[in-house]
Amino acid sequence: MSAFSAIDEEREIDRDEFTPGIEPQPTWCPGCGDFGVLKALKQAMPEVGRTPDETLLVTGIGCSGKLNSYFESYGFHTIHGRSLPVARAAKLANPGLEVIAAGGDGDGYGIGGNHFIHTARENHDMTYIVFNNEIFGLTKGQTSPTSPKGHKSKTQPHGSAKQPIRPLSQSLTAGASYVARTAAVNPNQAKEIIAEAIEHDGFAHIDFLTQCPTWNKDAKQYVPYVDVQQSDDYDFDVTDREEAGKMMYEVESKLHEGEVLTGRFYRDDDRMSYGEEKRAVGEMPDDPLAERYFDEDAEWERSADLMHYHR
């Protein structure tokens, strides 16, 4: 019998279960795009059939890092940029968990960029939601890795001399097996994409455009947006790496020209997740490692049995 009876429990799930009794009301600014993420996530959970007790939501630092204060599940609010390494170890330790990581664009593409590349490369079976508002919000409006070139802020008063990061292209190059962009202003698509990402067996990266009405007033509210899957103007094969790459480049360029393109840009359903790869080469146990510590009958190997190497 599992020591984790919440995992894969079959029951009806109500989206209200994901609203915490302690802090039901987020402290985000009125009109903040972060509300859109929270709402879409709460809606997606019952759809994918996962309960609060079997879900681990790991966040970084920033306005977005507060997500798990306002979302009822197991939560780990980590340090700036480090949600991914915490999250992926949790998934390896107990693959039955639904692991979701979230953070801002500074958190994920800036300070945590190295972890983003390597987590995508390894294709851990988890969902990563990046709240992309093209600004540092909680620290009051500094230029972020996704701020457009020329963006003026207190730290770049004459305008940023840097090209913004291309998050989708970078994700694809690094090895993510599901890459999408959605926007807070597009709640139905956001919910659908989050649900797809959670159900995807591999690293699913969502670049989630979240407008910041307080510190990024110049930026668009990400309207009007176009869903590339719904539009006749765009035709590409989401499973074709090369076509996906071209499409992503266009999408990223157009955002700074004022055109908001959203949708699914890449998916590879054939690639094994990291846990499966690791098991296939014999580097990970078949049963969840976490279970073993709760099994009173478990036999634990002893170093005494390794002493023949040293005689």
Partner: protein, 630 residues
Amino acid sequence: MTDTELMWRIAGGSGDGIDSTSQNFAKALMRAGLNVFTHRHYPSRIRGGHTYVEVRADSEPVRSRGDGFNFLLALGDSFARNPSEDAFYGDEEVKPLTENLDELNEGGVIVYDEGLLEGDDVANLNERAEENDWHVYPLDLRGLAREHGREVMRNTAGVGATAALLDMDITHIEDLMEDAMSGDVLEANLQILEEAYEDVKDNYEFTHDLRAPTGEHDEQQVLLSGSNAIAYGAIDEGCRFIAGYPMTPWTDVFTIMSQHLPDIGGISEQVEDEIAAAALAIGASHTGVKAMSGSSGGGFALMSEPLGLAEMTETPLVLIEAMRAGPSTGMPTKPEQADLEHVLYTSQGDSTRVVFAPGNIRECYDQIRAAFRIAYEYQIPSILVYDQKLQGELRNVDESFFDREPNADPGTTMTEEEIAEAAHHASGKFQRFGEGDENGVSPRSVPGQKGGRFLATGNEHSPEGHISEDTENRVRQMDRRLGKLDTIREELDGADDSHQTYYGPDTAEYGIMVWGSHQDTVFEAVDRLNDAGHSVKALGVSDLMPYPEAEVTEFIESVEECLVVEMNATAQFRGLTQKELGRFGPKLNSFLKYNGEPFEPYEVVEGFERTVDGAPDVPEGTKFVPAAGD
């Protein structure tokens, strides 16, 4: 130490097989019934450079490198660059000879490979040999190796010659070769070994007195390093997850664990950097698995912020800090104990961690087990700090020492049944950070358990884990977390076996204090000092946080004056002791070394004599800092 002990040094370049040859030689001596201890010296280079390993062997227990050595096997550096004296690294070709002669004791034996080294290239070799009563045997080891196999087998020829000159039985060496090799390689090596052995026996007239000591063990011995002992202690404590990034000398523990974990149902992760490594260990531990990570100085610096996260979220975590000479990249393959303050205080906020520094291989095993037990019982990070010395040295230990029961208990982690009974917020959230038990430990749930939901956060938080800046809650949470250190201290003080190690007569007049890896070198010095008529005892301290105030106070109070021996330039342990005890400034002298070479026992002897007699000089490379007010 006895008059008959062997201190054999094999020297060559990195890549010449010095390490593996010396390991097998040490093991052969152990199998023959001797006690052995090895000391490694190597540069941070892939190929070439001055490398040696010393194997000390005696019928009596050996616990340190010796003073100098008495047998040199100079293989020659087959990867030498710049064979000229003026080159940046000097004339590397002759280094296996020249670099070692200064430390070779009187009456010592020299075997060098004349196939690679010209004795004539070494200034005054004959004069020096005569002066020091050295016995020199030039042998064409390279030629012999070429004849029967390949040139790289020169080390086997050298071992054969060594065995002949020391009148050793080569059976154990042959057995070990058969364990490690097969086919043509084995055949060639065996042939070279026997040929060299017979050749030296038959064709040379021995002028030296040194012979291999003989001895006998009462029970089965095993030869291993501090790194082995740390890995094995972790395995016995149920650790099945490690994350790391390579860095010398930490790589040793990481590699040993990675080799065994997949076979025993565990997971090893080599990741992008040390920040990730520590964060992965936290993630695994948070999920209910016993996990560890670690690094050396620079990599450990990157772990500072995750370490603080583990303190704040009360996530059990075990980290290793394998020190090497700093600052910055420093001297990557050289020992030093200069990261003490770094390990104690790195990361923002008040330190809430446990730090142990084992003094030898057995203590590595015992203290990593204690580190895990405390980390999971008290939900606190434990750090084991050791160094390149204890990492690399091999020593024989009774095999029965490791015949222990495993303990995989995840500590104060609840089952679902226990969670159902435990306190919850009205909203259903589990009170993960409540007042806790009498030790201030609030039992934890892990993700996936029904009814155990909580938020772990690096922000200050309420009992349910929600971010809170309430002043009363802040003080309550801080006091509870920090209070665990007092409880841990009480538990350690009340235990049957103290982590502090006492040596020498109780009533001695003077004391020597030491922490970590130099403990047994100091103990050897204590024996010599007492034999020479001094009255001295020693205390090896392993508990660095929480500090063993009562034990150290009692020790210092019981002596006239105390010498604190440590391998750093700023007397960090003496400083810690004075900070923790708030007194004894005028009683604590420091004896320091930071040139990259571990202390030799005679240096500690002379350092001590400087303390009591005011002898004018201390050995080159060491530094005496008198007590405050002296």
